[in-house]
């Protein structure tokens, strides 16, 4: 479904991605794990068209997308939940959600989708008139996910959904991701919490300093000695 071929990217002199190649299969959860600064978020920003790539290619369903603008990429069905949630703090919960459906011209359908996610996340319905910035971290993460889903994506990019959340809330978020997957959505998940990510994912890539150093089925990565030592705190 999504394919990155030796993608390079720079921030000025800094060579952030050094030839990342990966692919995401339709209907799967694929995860990228790695330490802080390894290039995971940069990879997602390149896919979303926010960050320019220096060389290589990104294809979505056989179509080259790295030359497209961010809004066109969203139009193709790739929506990102950015790191740190990035809720619009001075928009209400409902306005935040409506922004997720910005490209959908069919108002009736938008409200239908809105009701659907209010059912899935009742807390958002309770707080729909509240400013996004007043929500707690976990609620903001739910809002960020629901906002992205409002755009009816086919590929969801999730950047560190567990960041800064209490363990119980993390579990809740992971269950939501599982539920989304069961509805047939393809997910590319970036996580520092390797344990939680690999338990959820079908396939995984390990990224270190801008390169893919390891890739395998998620279940196998969980058993991999190197992964255990570096990312799971075992061994």
């Amino acid at each position: 479904m999504l394919k990155l071929e030796t993608v390079h990217s720079h921030y000025g002199q800094i060579h952030a991605l050094k030839g990342i190649s990966l692919s995401v299969q339709a209907g799967n959860i694929c995860c990228l794990i790695g330490a802080n600064g390894a290039g995971k978020s940069t990879t997602l920003m390149c896919i979303s068209g926010i960050k320019n790539i220096s060389s290589g290619s990104i294809e979505f369903e056989g179509r080259t997308i790295h030359t497209l603008s961010p809004e066109k990429i969203v139009g193709l069905g790739i929506v990102q939940v950015p790191e740190g949630r990035r809720i619009f703090p001075y928009l209400t919960v409902q306005e935040n959600l409506m922004m997720g459906a910005y490209r959908c011209a069919d108002k009736a359908k938008v409200y239908e989708t809105l009701e659907k996610y209010f059912d899935i996340f009742p807390i958002l319905k309770d707080r729909n008139k509240q400013m996004g910035g007043t929500l707690s971290g976990g609620e903001q993460q739910m809002l960020a996910i629901a906002r992205a889903l409002m755009g009816s994506p086919r590929l969801l990019l999730l950047d560190e959904p567990s960041l800064g959340l209490a363990p119980l809330v993390v579990e809740n978020i992971m269950n939501i991701i599982r539920q989304i997957k069961s509805e047939g959505l393809t997910i590319l998940l970036v996580e520092q919490n390797a344990q939680a990510a690999l338990e959820l994912a079908d396939y995984g890539y390990v990224i270190e300093t801008g390169e893919v150093v390891l890739e395998d089925a998620a279940a196998d990565l969980l058993q991999n000695a190197r992964v255990k030592e570096a990312y799971l705190g075992e061994g």
Binding site: I50, P70, E71, V74, R103
Partner: protein, 304 residues
């Protein structure tokens, strides 16, 4: 007692004049504050759009014989397009450049447009010929004691209120308005939601320029003076009003315009008319000293 009444009626008269002037400042100020909100740029050429608004309407009524009330919407539309063009030519190529580059370009555009107007319309002060304006503009709408208010003042106040109300509806009730607010809070996330950031920025310029053009026509009417440099002083004042209210905040610009207009008229009335500009800037300096984010501006939000 007589004296007291005289004083209070002077006070009310000044208040009426101050509100009229403040409304016009507010109309210009929202243009600064909206553009600042979406691209963090002080669009110093905004005052020139206001000047062009006054001149375009002038040319329409004098050269082309278009009725005054038809010239207003035409001028507004042309200036809205002009605002989009200004952004497209001058600012969009510099979107990723350091902010100083765009700021200097804005000052350059301001000087360029002033001189362009000088070239087209010449340096002499012009005014809308009285013959094309409704006679009622110059008649008193009402006289209560010593307080008088002309129909022109009422027209200016009414237009200001209506425009502000429309603006409020656009910003809070439409999707593109919500997108404007979203972009002012987080551009990257807005793009990630599929918002065409550049298109919303164009829309912002269009709205700001439309309000500015309307203000230009109103001031041209009120002071009977249209000239190429009229945008400079009004622009600086409106910018001061925007800062006073809290740059980036639309209600702030409205409030700031009102406060500045009233302060200026009262200063001119009770102290000396030479001080009018000085007083409005003094008010701005005081606010910046004691409340840097403006009267109702939002303090910079700590990103978590």
């Amino acid at each position: 007692m007589e004296n007291l009444l005289g004083m209070s009626s002077l006070f009310l008269q000044q208040l009426v004049n101050g509100l009229t002037l403040g409304g016009v400042y507010a109309l210009i100020a929202v243009g600064y504050t909206m553009v600042y909100g979406v691209i963090e740029l002080i669009n110093f050429a905004h005052g020139e759009i206001y000047m062009l608004g006054a001149f375009l309407a002038y040319t329409m009524v004098t050269v082309f014989g278009i009725p005054f009330f038809a010239a207003i919407p035409l001028t507004i539309m042309i200036c809205a397009c002009f605002g989009i063009l200004l952004d497209f030519i001058a600012y969009r190529p510099l979107r990723r450049a350091p902010r100083l580059a765009a700021l200097i370009t804005a000052i350059g555009m301001s000087i360029f447009l002033q001189n362009l107007a000088l070239l087209i319309w010449g340096g002499q002060i012009r005014s809308y010929p009285r013959a094309v304006l409704p006679k009622a503009f110059f008649q008193n709408a009402f006289v209560v004691g010593d307080i008088t208010m002309t129909w022109l003042q009422i027209f200016i106040l009414a237009v200001t209120v209506v425009f502000m109300f429309i603006l409020h509806l656009i910003i809070h009730r439409t999707q593109v308005g919500t997108a404007m607010r979203a972009i002012s809070q987080d551009k990257v996330t807005s793009a990630l939601m599929g918002i065409s950031v550049n298109r919303v920025i164009s829309f912002t310029f269009a709205i700001g320029s439309a309000m500015g053009a309307m203000a230009g026509i109103l001031v041209g009417l009120y002071y009977n003076a249209i000239f190429p440099y009229m945008g400079y002083n009004a622009g600086i004042k409106a910018f001061a009003a925007a800062v006073l209210g809290g740059i980036g905040s639309v209600p702030g610009a409205m409030l700031g315009g009102g406060v500045l207009g009233i302060a200026e008229v009262f200063g001119a009335g009770y102290l000396a008319s030479e001080y009018r500009d000085g007083i409005s800037y003094a008010v701005m300096i005081l606010v910046i000293l004691f409340k840097p984010s403006g009267l109702i501006g939002k303090p910079i939000l700590e990103k978590v």
